[in-house]
């Protein structure tokens, strides 16, 4: 295969398969990743083909999963860890923040931590509590971690490849409600840089910046705005640590207006940093304050309310209008 249309889920599966094939040190670890292939089937078939020594069903203990992955990395392995849902990463938080993120620095560079932590995240699937959260701030704020999130199948495939190849720990957020969205994947293309943003739609009046599940919403909003004669540029940030401020700055200097969209709560969401830094970089260019659309300062609500809670087309367009009104 070279170019093939596939879902994000399938692209991730293929990417893991390729990594397992190419490097015997790559391991998959997590709850139910074996026979079941993970609750989202991202690891489907991998244990069958690569065996229990490489695709490892772990005890139900996230701290244990990440803690042993660190040990395996110290032994020269490259573990790709699956956390079953966003809300279940917290038992592993201590190992991630105090150990995984700091080991390389603590060792003055003498050891590397090539560990990928895959987390299906964000909402929109009608799930019960703890299954719809967007905790990216809680990782992006932590020095030593890298944080990324693909929005489409091609990025899913390539960004996961790059994350696994990285010698740094990467928190890999997968937009679970987009798992079944399809797109073309060129498995022989030379990918762009992992931490660079990409303009996914050009425009001149205002920039929308998003990542993961919200890119699609922003693209739809841009299309809707176009019908009203507004030219909206959409930037897929792709990486939340580092954030490609250079790339974003180019867009904002052109459009002079920016709205950042994410599912995570606005308060101290990644949009806060983007607003602060872009304002500093583009102070004399901005016609309006950077606006943010995101979750409220409230626990992710029960499923029947999530459509209202989640930033949707209307809320994004409302922010576009408010920005343009300045």
């Amino acid at each position: 295969m070279a170019v093939e249309k596939m879902s994000i889920a399938k692209a991730l599966n293929e990417s893991l398969r390729k990594a397992l094939e190419q490097d015997p040190k790559v391991l998959i670890m997590g709850e139910d990743v074996g026979k079941l292939g993970g609750v989202f089937r991202i690891t489907d078939g991998l244990q069958k083909d690569f065996g229990e020594e490489r695709v490892i069903d772990t005890p139900l203990a996230e701290s244990g999963i990440v803690g042993t992955a660190i040990g395996l990395a110290l032994r020269g392995y490259r573990p790709v860890v699956e956390i079953q849902f966003d809300g279940f990463v917290f038992p592993a938080y201590d190992q991630i923040v105090t150990q995984l993120a700091k080991m390389h620095a603590r060792a003055l560079g003498k050891v590397k931590m090539p560990v990928v932590v895959r987390i299906p995240y964000a909402g929109g699937i009608g799930a019960v509590e703890h299954h719809s959260e967007s905790p990216e701030t809680l990782f992006a704020h932590v020095p030593g971690l890298k944080v990324v999130s693909p929005s489409n199948a091609s990025d899913a495939y390539w960004m996961l490849q790059q994350a696994i190849l990285s010698d740094d720990p990467v928190i890999f957020f997968e937009p679970k409600r987009r798992y079944w969205d399809k797109g073309e994947v060129d498995t022989e293309a030379i990918p762009g840089e992992l931490h660079k943003a990409r303009v996914t739609r050009e425009g001149s009046d205002i920039t929308l910046a998003a990542y993961g599940p919200m890119v699609k919403v922003c693209m739809e909003a841009a299309a809707a705005a176009a019908e009203e004669g507004k030219s909206v540029e959409v930037v897929d940030l792709r990486s939340m640590s580092p954030i490609d401020f250079d790339g974003l700055q180019v867009s904002v200097e052109k459009t002079r207006r920016l709205v950042v969209v994410h599912e995570a709560p606005v308060f101290l969401g990644t949009g806060a940093e983007i607003a602060a830094r872009i304002t500093e970089r583009c102070f004399y260019h901005l016609e309006a304050p950077v606006l943010r659309v995101g979750g409220f300062h409230a626990p992710y609500p029960p499923a029947r309310l999530e459509d209202e809670y989640l930033p949707g087309l209307d809320r994004v367009l409302d922010a576009v209008d408010r920005s343009l009104a300045y």
């Binding site: 079941l36 069903d57 005890p59 139900l60 203990a61 809300g87 038992p91 029960p302 809320r315």
Partner: protein, 406 residues
């Protein structure tokens, strides 16, 4: 049916001989036995009613004998009551599964096969005891008097927990695996501080046993000698993972290494579950601290309605467990012993039907919450940001109404 009378709240430990009704004075003996049991590599299973529906006598099984005293007071009427609880719980559970298929619920976690473990333990409790469930304790909720339809709110997606925990001393369902064992331990520390003779029971699964929180709960409860019973339903599976992925030796043995007894009970034997839980609760009340009960049972259905167990387990295994069905064995016994007649079963069937109907009706009528509920109860004392966002969002929503009004 009152398997256990609700004793008034009395100061705890004021008398070492104080015992809950039905809890004979043998609390010490089984503890010793349990410790002895825990030392064998081959697990001993406390069983008082065989899969064939025969009651185990002290002569049959000296191990069981020690626990028999804890169900000496159980009358035939009580047995019918336990049977009824199991049947209605199963019916409710089946109804919920059906409602999920019909799109009325987003998800359901079935207790199919675990009725005896839940009803047996649930009926061992006094009203003033406190329960910390996982997300699967529908049978225990039933015993506590929680209206079963209240359980459905979170699975329908209208709330994250639809009952007041303090009305029935039944805490909200906890989804993060293992967390509630620490809450139970803390609650039990509080019970002890209050000098009450209530006990606390924490439910958890075989998978949960791997979580650090559960070990910490064992440590805290051992160190503070807290009146808590750790009740593990070992249903053999944590989603797709068999118990061998969680432990190398039977779980009940773990307790001893933390300094308290652990017992494995036939989790499909409602009588044995009742007896063993009563014993464990009696220990708690008597100031003897925590106990681990491992109810050896089986998850007959999928993990949840989202799960497909054919991916990871063999039909034969499930079929083998069908022969150990908790409801069937009690029915066999009741029929053989003349403890219940056809009229009983028929009227129970009618009661089941009525319950099913009510559940369907209540669920279908369950309204979606108001949008602005997003902002409710985030804080008890309020928070400026929530106020600001609530007002902004209300204005935003109103802007559409205004437009539509045009």
């Amino acid at each position: 049916m009152t398997v256990e009378s609700t004793a008034a709240r009395k100061p705890r430990r004021s008398s070492g001989t104080k015992r809950a009704a039905g809890a004979a004075s043998a609390a010490k003996a089984p503890a010793a036995k349990a410790a002895a049991t825990a030392q064998n590599a081959e697990p001993q299973l406390v069983q008082l009613l065989t899969p064939e529906g025969e009651r185990v006598s002290a002569a049959d099984n000296p191990d069981a004998a020690e626990f028999l005293s804890f169900v000496e007071d159980i009358t035939t009427e009580d047995l019918r009551g336990l049977y009824r609880d199991m049947v209605l719980t199963r019916r409710f559970d089946g109804e919920a599964t059906a409602l999920q298929r019909q799109g009325e619920l987003g998800l359901w976690a079935s207790l199919l096969g675990q009725e005896a473990a839940q009803i047996g333990s649930g009926r061992a409790l006094r009203d003033d005891d406190y329960v910390f469930p996982t997300y699967r304790e529908h049978g225990v909720a039933w015993c506590r008097g929680v209206d079963p339809t209240n359980l459905l709110g979170m699975f329908r997606g209208v709330n994250h927990g639809g009952w007041d925990p303090n009305t029935n001393n039944f805490h909200l369902y906890t989804i993060v695996i293992g967390s509630q064992t620490l809450h139970a331990t803390g609650y039990a520390m509080g019970v002890a501080k209050d000098g009450a003779d209530s006990a606390v029971i924490a439910y958890f699964g075989d998978g949960a046993s791997s979580q650090g929180d559960v070990a910490e709960a064992f440590t805290f409860s051992a160190v503070y000698n807290s009146p808590v019973v750790f009740f593990c339903q070992n249903n053999q599976w944590a989603i797709s993972e068999p118990t061998e992925r969680q432990m190398r030796v039977p779980l009940y043995q773990r307790a001893q290494g933390f300094g308290f007894p652990g017992v494995r009970v036939d989790g499909n034997d409602v009588l044995a579950c009742l007896a063993v839980t009563r014993w464990a609760l009696a220990r708690a009340r008597a100031g003897e601290g925590p106990t681990l009960v491992e109810a050896f049972t089986y998850r007959m259905g999928a993990h949840t309605t989202s799960d497909d167990p054919t991916k990871y387990r063999r039909d034969e295994e499930t079929q083998a467990w069908e022969a150990k069905d908790p409801i069937l064995r009690l029915k066999t016994y009741l029929l053989a012993s003349g403890g219940a007649d056809e009229a009983f079963f028929e009227s129970l069937e009618a009661e089941s039907e009525a319950l099913g109907k009510r559940v369907r009706e209540v669920v279908r009528a369950m309204p979606d919450p108001d949008t602005m509920a997003i902002f409710e109860n985030v804080y008890a004392d309020g928070h400026a940001l929530v106020d600001e966002e609530r007002a902004q969002f209300a204005a935003y929503l109103a802007s559409f109404e205004a437009e539509e009004g045009h």
